[in-house]
Symmetry: C2
Subunit: 596 residues, 2 copies
């Protein structure tokens, strides 16, 4: 069972992540509080009542593959069609092709709920939304005219074809090729792997976005072009024509997200799949990055969504299951395990991770919105930098937290957690992909250190840290004891973040690239924990007195996070600046030769 945590979602949007600022920029009349509430409430209902009950069935059934076709799980197709009829696929898409043009923040809040309900279900539309965005920004008007409306509505779904067996994280190694046709179209040849929803029975057509090289393209990533390759050709009247030369050769047997087919796609083994260029030749990577950046945030939201689901699952079990006597429990018989101090700690650890992931993902969505909506070019550039800085943190920290929460959730269940019927293990199996795809979390950390710290000559990150410090300083002067105590933990953590940041900037300025890279992963966690602590504190100070129990719990949760997870930061700061020597001196090949 999943219950949409609407109060926390609405609170985080409004008081932590800055929805009022987005509303002002968007137009307060068009985005009234009533509308926001109605959207969240209905999304929560749909997620809880229609999607969530399918999650376990889909895990068991998977997506059988036979004769080139993929069958989605029982109930999946009906659910998807109800979902697109509700307009959910079109929430954030532009209004030109039928989208609702609402802020990304709202779409991300809804996406959290779709992912809590079923990560495998939510994944398909997530990729369609990315395809929509790439076409909106980069495709020629004729292509937009032909494809966008049906992708926006969800009548068709979209895919993203990057990976090949030899080209995973390194797109330089891409081999799929494209040849020019006389009519301006292209013939595409090659094999793509790990293509999410590459083949399925949810929609009549599937629109593949495919990276490939032209014969005369420069080597490396400056020679990659992006093509639109429909499964079925689309006639000028919008009806479907013949089948294109693209097929699914098989699906993967995966640890989790069994309801989401992961396909090997073969392009052009009968003479060439016909495709159309998106954007300019050899500039495909820039187009793909449009998809990828937002996909990274969307993957972060998967971590958030699963973390919330696992937390609710564990909380319900812990209130129901009775074992032993908790100290101080005045009840009869055995105590609910939720009253044992160690289980209380575990539940708080899960909820703190969930709430931090929510605050960071929503804040990242806020920055993306402001990068489009802010009044001046300077402000828009500022928010674009902020979105750039927050995206790798939102992706990596939230997905790590998703895995950690799901694993803690199994632990709360004891032996039951290891039994598949319980459902707790599925959360871990599903969540485990999120730190890997859309750029592994290691690559997110490298992106943060190598591309985001230097933004605005290094000034952007300093400004960001100064904002967090202002929160901590306001909290230190607060009258509430929980808030003051939280600030007392956050201030030294901020100092650690400042000095680690300065060290990394200096290392890169000095050309000590390997040293900086060796510290990237602990730096991302350090930055994410400090940001998370500051955002929880901001929420703890933001109560309006409407729900005293909820506000007291937010203060307690901020304090708990500061007293436990924030304790990692002192070590992480030293790790970033001090551990490179031993890491770089390590010779893995020599070690391997010495084993056995």
């Amino acid at each position: 069972m999943y219950r949409a945590p609407l109060a926390e979602i609405a609170f985080t949007l409004k008081h932590v992540a800055g929805l009022p600022q987005v509303r002002d920029a968007y137009g307060a009349e068009e985005l009234g509080e009533d509308l926001v509430e109605a959207i969240l409430t209905e999304a929560g209902r749909f997620a809880a009542e229609e999607i969530a009950p399918l999650n376990k069935i889909a895990d068991r059934q998977g997506t059988p593959f036979a004769n080139g076709t993929v069958t989605t799980p029982e109930g999946w197709r009906d659910c998807y069609h109800h979902w697109i009829e509700g307009g959910w696929n079109a929430l954030a898409a532009g209004t030109d092709f039928g989208g609702q043009g609402l802020p990304v923040m709202l779409n991300i809040a809804a996406l959290e709920m779709w992912n809590s309900a079923s990560m495998a279900f939510a994944l398909g539309p997530t990729l369609t939304m990315g395809a929509v965005e790439a076409l909106e920004k980069h495709a020629a008007p004729e292509l937009q005219e032909k494809y966008l409306a049906k992708l926006v509505s969800g009548e068709w779904m979209g895919t993203m074809n990057l990976t090949e067996p030899q080209a995973g994280s390194d797109l330089n190694a891409l081999k799929a090729r494209a040849e020019r046709n006389a009519d301006g179209s292209y013939r595409i040849f090659g094999q793509k792997i790990y293509i999410t929803y590459g083949e399925h029975d949810l929609t009549d057509n599937i629109i593949h976005l495919v990276l490939a090289r032209l014969p005369d393209a420069p080597a490396g990533t400056r020679g990659i072009s992006l093509f639109l390759v429909p499964k079925f050709f689309v006639n000028d009247d919008g009806s479907l024509g013949a089948r294109n030369d693209v097929r699914c050769a098989g699906i993967e047997h995966k640890l989790g997200i069994h309801g989401s087919p992961t396909c090997t796609m073969i392009y052009g083994d009968e003479g060439g799949a016909t495709g159309w260029l998106i954007g300019e030749e050899n500039r495909g990577l820039a187009c793909m990055f449009t998809m990828m950046n937002n996909a990274r945030l969307a993957v972060g939201v998967q971590g958030l969504g699963v973390s919330e689901r696992a937390f609710q699952h564990a909380l319900a079990y812990a209130l129901d299951r009775r074992q032993g006597r908790a100290p101080g429990d005045k009840g009869e018989g055995m105590s609910p395990i939720a009253l044992h101090p160690d289980i209380k700690r575990t539940l708080l650890a899960m909820q703190a991770r969930t709430q931090v992931a929510r605050a960071i993902c929503y804040s990242c969505a806020h920055a993306i919105d402001m990068a489009h909506l802010a009044a001046t070019p300077e402000e828009r550039a500022h928010w674009a930098s902020r979105a750039g800085l927050l995206t790798p943190i939102a992706k990596a920290l939230s997905t790590d937290f998703g895995v950690e929460s799901a694993s803690l959730g199994i632990q709360v269940h004891g032996g039951m957690g290891f039994i598949e019927e319980t459902g707790a293990a599925q959360h871990l199996r599903d969540a485990r992909i999120a730190p890997i795809y859309e750029g592994t979390n290691g690559i997110q950390a490298i992106d943060l250190v190598q591309r985001k710290l230097p933004l605005e000559g290094g000034a952007h990150v300093d400004g960001f840290i100064a904002e967090l410090k202002a929160i901590a300083e306001a909290a230190a002067a607060h009258s509430d004891e929980d808030i003051k105590a939280t600030a007392a933990h956050l201030l030294p953590a901020l100092d650690g973040l400042s000095s680690a940041t300065a060290w990394l900037k200096q290392a890169q300025a000095d050309g000590r690239v390997a040293e900086a890279l060796a510290g990237a992963t602990p730096y991302l966690r350090l930055a994410g924990l400090v940001l998370g602590g500051a955002l929880l504190l901001k929420g703890a100070m933001a109560g309006e007195g409407q729900d005293p129990a909820a506000e007291a719990h937010r203060r307690l949760l901020a304090r708990h996070f500061a007293e436990t997870l924030l304790g990692e930061t002192a070590g992480l700061a030293r790790d970033v600046t001090g551990a490179a020597g031993a890491i770089l001196a390590f010779d893995p090949a020599a070690l391997s030769a010495r084993i056995g």
Copy 2:
């Protein structure tokens, strides 16, 4: 592929965990270095060549259940019979019934290799060894005579029947019942769940050890008795007789260890299963604790074994897979990902966890051996305390590390890690049970704080910390830079452990039980990390100059551990002493009522 890390195993036994002291106490002639080497080498060969290749097949096939019978995976039965023919089941059992009577340390080293090869395979014999020990210590001579020789040889296997649906961690809630027969035997009735290898086709008979209550037994754990219930009765000539009234009603569909059947066992639904008392009536828990304590160390070794296997798997992949250009790599084309700094960090993180788990598990085995072999009652009592102190740490830290290593190993594989065929995901699925069974790691932490800190009036743990401090101080005065740097991290971590220990002892002395329990989990990790750092440092200082590259790597690994994982200790020490307030103030039921 698995290669037995014989050099590290032998080094750790000898230079870190104290095998020479055990050898002296055991008798140096009977336990020559040649014999030790021969045992380890042959165990490594058997594990790598005969067991390891079955691990993935077993994961895929599981143990189908039909008509009350369980079929083990392809090759399993032959492998088991080769394994017992090699005498491996009898390694540590007493010599009276055919055991080799070798030190526990050697058995644990071999057990590491069985678990690296296949945790699901190793689990069955682990339980048989527990049953052997319980019978050796507590059973009447007639029972020993009838059952022990065949359990020692492995011709029959043993099981451990504690858990019932309502009685998991809390054995007070046990309901299975026993009634006295006129001939001195008993009739057993009840349902037991999660019975590992409760039914299978590896051996002709299965000897169940079952906890149940007599009609006139006191309530709670002081009213539990232990019974031996054979699947088939054993005639006086040793041949098998009729089937007993015990049957397997089904097996669980689990996240991992698919090769190990987890059974629901029904006793007595056709008039009563016949059983024989082990030890005294109502004293069954004491007998069961004999099994459980050693089983806890054995479960820790599962974490160790899987961690080593996952590490080797990831290392091999990282040396083979090429993506991008690592800084400073002078080779052609893309670099092996093992050369990227972030992957080097990850591999070291896995190996450091593995080596710490090994050092702690072997040290615990050393304490168990010395508790039996030491010359004086005072020394034996000292080592029994030490074994008591180390057991929860060995169990919980090693199993947490097993899960962490397996998860890091998936990450090293990128997208391939999520594909089941790769095998990396299986390590995580298998490892995930180990923090749960034989007492969850939360219960281990509570055991450490509530039962082990007070040992010898609190003096034992202080002596233990003083020993670790002596290692750190010797290292601080060492000439080697890596060793000195490691000591510089370990000394403040030891101070944190000392003050957290003192705080917990005081809290319990003051009757602040809930506060102490709230800090138990971070305390166990704090103690384990500090112990691990000290043992790595001991190994780093112990080189004999025979293998300079291996010794240099041990220094590097100790330093890496100190610069990364030991960084958690400052936060953990503050967590133990400072986080109880918020945890105990948390009201899970009220929170649940506020969601959605």
